[in-house]
């Protein structure tokens, strides 16, 4: 099997894999270097690894607080959106009613509307309502932005569930909510895993909404925090990189643990 062709192919793959890893490697290696070492050697392995930068980051910058804020938003928005879209998708997939196709088409079309289009009126409206810098306010916006995808995904999935299952349950006298709970949900786990991964990543990674709608320093998200953190320590590259390692750790670990789910999930969420 070892033909020259295969060697070239292997080489190309190894090279692309390396390129995909370079920033991560740079980030981790640099975080372990002292400032003095980085000044002299920007590329090599850390000769005398130091953990000081990690300690400095955790003590001097509120990374933990930022992550907590991001987590609150992720939980709030993902759960709210999952519940609303689950019930709606169930109705759309299994019931006949006027305006059904129109509703699904509109909701799906909204996936292509850029979030930035909505910020002007929402900013003004939120200021009038006093919702700026509140978790609830930001959660509603995030939930709204991820819901078109959720509805699309769940509706598509629910429609693949065999009609016989519904019929059988209905014969047994179950009402529609009971059918949703006992028949539909148990078989829909894969769809929900996808939903949770795609939506969580979206909320966790967002910068635009976080900057505009969470202006209180105490409510800052991880991504908004990073944009400030990197400016403040611009020329302390090792310290900055330690911050980035900490910031990327949660998603990175989750990815390594659940990489199959991540890959499958993000493929279906490509449109986001």
């Amino acid at each position: 099997m070892i033909s020259p062709g295969n060697i070239i192919k292997q080489a190309v793959l190894v090279f692309s894999t390396f390129l995909a890893l370079v920033p991560t490697l740079f980030m981790i290696m640099t975080a372990l270097k002292s400032n003095e070492e980085y000044a002299i050697d920007k590329l090599g392995l850390p000769q005398a690894p130091v953990l000081d930068h990690f300690r400095d980051v955790l003590i001097d910058s509120p990374f933990i607080g930022w992550m907590t804020n991001s987590l609150i938003l992720v939980l709030g928005a993902v759960i709210l959106s999952a519940v609303i879209s689950c019930i709606a998708a169930y109705a759309i997939a299994s019931m006949e009613f006027r305006g059904r196709d129109w509703l699904l088409a509109t909701s799906t079309a909204l996936m292509a509307v850029p979030p930035v289009v909505m910020i002007v009126p929402l900013f003004v409206f939120y200021t009038q309502l006093g919702l700026i810098s509140t978790y609830a306010g930001a959660i509603i916006i995030y939930a709204g932005l991820i819901t078109p995808f959720s509805v699309y995904l769940l509706t598509t999935f629910f429609r693949t569930i065999p009609k016989e299952l519904f019929e059988a349950a209905r014969m047994d006298g179950a009402n529609s909510l009971q059918i949703l709970w006992t028949v539909v949900l148990p078989v829909s786990l894969p769809a929900f895993v996808t939903l949770i991964i795609v939506n969580s990543l979206y909320v966790w990674n967002d910068l635009l909404i976080a900057i505009i709608f969470l202006q209180d320093d105490a409510k800052r998200t991880l991504m908004a925090g990073i944009s400030i953190f990197q400016g403040r320590y611009n020329n302390q590259v090792p310290l900055t990189m330690a911050g980035m390692v900490i910031a990327s750790a949660p998603m990175f670990i989750l990815y390594i643990l659940f990489q199959k789910h991540f890959i499958r999930g993000l493929m279906s969420g490509a449109v986001k």
């Binding site: 295969n6 609303i84 109705a91 292509a112 289009v117 909505m118 002007v120 635009l208 990197q230 991540f262």
Partner: protein, 298 residues
Amino acid sequence: MVMKSALRLQPYFYVLPLIVLLAFVFGYPIVRIFEFSFKMVRGVDGPWIGLRNYELVLSQGLFWESVLHNLQLLLAIPAMIAISLLVSILLYERLPGWKLYRIIVFIPFILAVPIIAVVMKRMFQFSGPVNEVLRWFSLDFMALDWIGSSNVALWTVMILIIWRESALGIILFLARLMSLDESILEAAKLDGATWRQRVWHIIIPQMRGVIEFFAVVSVITMLAAVFAYIFIMGGGRGGPGTATMVIELYIFNALIRTSLPGIAAAASVMLFLVSVLLIFPLFSARRRARAEEVGTQQ
């Protein structure tokens, strides 16, 4: 009778929360941007001024510069497709270690844009590691001021975008490849078709749907989802100068930095109309990509 009408209304109760949420987050703002775009807004409202905001936006050099930058970013798409095709087809060959490679090449897409932008910004600093490597290889002429020079900065952002978004392409394409009918490929192999012939005449033609889909998704990304890249790489202002200014940042600046919501709304309306135009190609590409996959599986 009562029972029956309650049943008929039931679906509406189920979809009501959805309608309320979408109306609040999408419906209301979309109506208001049209209204605001015809007003001289200070604070929360202002007098009607007809088409004046549009006149001002359309006659402003900065607006067109931003549009041009968004269009320039579209140039990244062919590169993304080429890279994704090459890597995914090689992975599909299941060479030793392919499963590990697959996990790694997807990492760029897992890292959040702000994080990776911060890392790349340090790497591309004038006295940073990228230039060090280039000087090491005696490629001094290539050691540019990657983020400090107006002529180069947007291309640097593009490198970052290609690097990250290609990961998505690879995974999408690989999924499609996995569903291909392998017997045709085997037959072609037996007939003595070379690797390049197989890729060019058998594999790629069957992937047209998914390539198209990826292309359309990427167009939407380039036109309306690059804020985080630009915000970090361009020092929060689309800098140096206005070299990396894009429409999203133009709207953000008009609203937040120069307190001109009316101007921001006029630009938002135009971006919204463009995104509406893109909905149709998006839907048809998605439908074709699905049909393609289902077709081969049956």
